[in-house]
Symmetry: C2
DNA sequence: AAATTTACTTACTAGTTAGTAAGTTTTGCA
DNA sequence: TGCAAAACTTACTAACTAGTAAGTAAATTT
């Protein structure tokens, strides 16, 4: 029962959060960009917390649907699909990932959004852990230590690489991805 | 010829940038926290751009002094010293590194600050590259691919790990560090 | 001792922020 | 057709933002 307008607001807000962060997300910018008034945005999202929470929730749901759609595919295909989705953020306005944005805005986030972001990151890390375990079992991935440790490294490296790419260019992200894949190769 | 007050402002501003980011850094918060008036801060740093630029410059200088002080030490000692300095950010108010903060605030930064942050990150990456080259030559480090690629991975992983630690706890940073060191061991 | 510079305070501006209350238009349903 | 609910607009508030102009006190220099 979500209205079209509400979806459009949330989509634009998502883009803005990934570009300028939650604190700099403003009702004015959203309303003017969508050709409506301030109060219209407040009608759909009474408080900024409501809006921010919906933005993170939607991105979380997107991730869940994304991984579900990948079920049945090989570990390598899953990894590539994830890496490509991150690369699209980069090419589409130098955005950073929602989790990275939430983490750097952390001190300014209401508790509800913090909790949602924490759950989100945990699930991404778990997904990567299983991916690495299965990939190793199938002989397509290789790494030292635990799958959880390697998953922690990979998730943080990708989030950091998206951000650093803003400063020193998109090639940085590609270099990090290439290094990660090289190290995973048996 | 830097006054004490100016240093105190810059130090507090550094802490605030690493906690809440450049856009949320406010003259009011600084002045009230230092027991002075708004205009007093503007006396030392006429514009916010001046203040923000000085903050990044100072952190950059700190890094340069830090690496200079480590000259002569072994590659392992240098790496450990760097990792410890990052861990102190975490333990001292869950700060993130200046480069990571600059990268996530990138879209809101004036050009001068962007450029300074870009140079800063390039130098950190170069420092890591040389560290890895020397460590490999000395037989204390091991890795696949180029030193530059591995340096890109490590710098982004550490920046991302500091941020993710805010969401899922400081152990995440320690896990990433442990994984990195494990993989470097010959 | 006088003049000048440094380091502020007081008091203000113009613009932006999230948020609200009340009124109006549009839409879907009975 | 008429009613009700949904989706808005208008008009506003209180708080905050960076930044400025003018005045003051203290330190430094001449």
């Amino acid at each position: 029962m979500r209205s079209e307008t509400k979806d459009k607001i949330a989509e634009l807000a998502t883009e803005l959060v990934q570009q300028v962060g939650y604190p700099s997300l403003s009702y004015q910018q959203i309303s003017s960009q969508l050709g409506m008034k301030n109060a219209a945005v407040h009608y759909h999202f009474p408080s900024k917390e409501d809006l921010g929470l919906d933005v993170v929730r939607r991105d979380h749901e997107l991730f869940t649907k994304f991984t579900t759609s990948l079920e049945g595919q090989s570990a390598e295909e899953k990894l590539d699909a994830f890496l490509t989705s991150y690369q699209q953020l980069l090419e589409n306005g130098n955005r950073i990932c929602m989790i990275g944005a939430s983490a750097s805005d952390y001190k300014q986030l209401p508790d509800s959004i913090r909790q949602e972001a924490t759950t989100y990151l945990s699930e991404v890390k778990d997904w990567f852990t299983r991916l690495l375990e299965n990939g190793k079992a199938d002989g397509v991935f290789q790494y030292k230590g635990s799958a959880a440790g390697k998953a922690a490294l990979i998730t943080s490296a990708l989030a950091g690489a998206l951000q650093h790419a803003r400063l020193i260019g998109n090639d940085h992200y590609l270099a990090v991805v290439a290094q990660l894949k090289l190290e995973l190769k048996p």
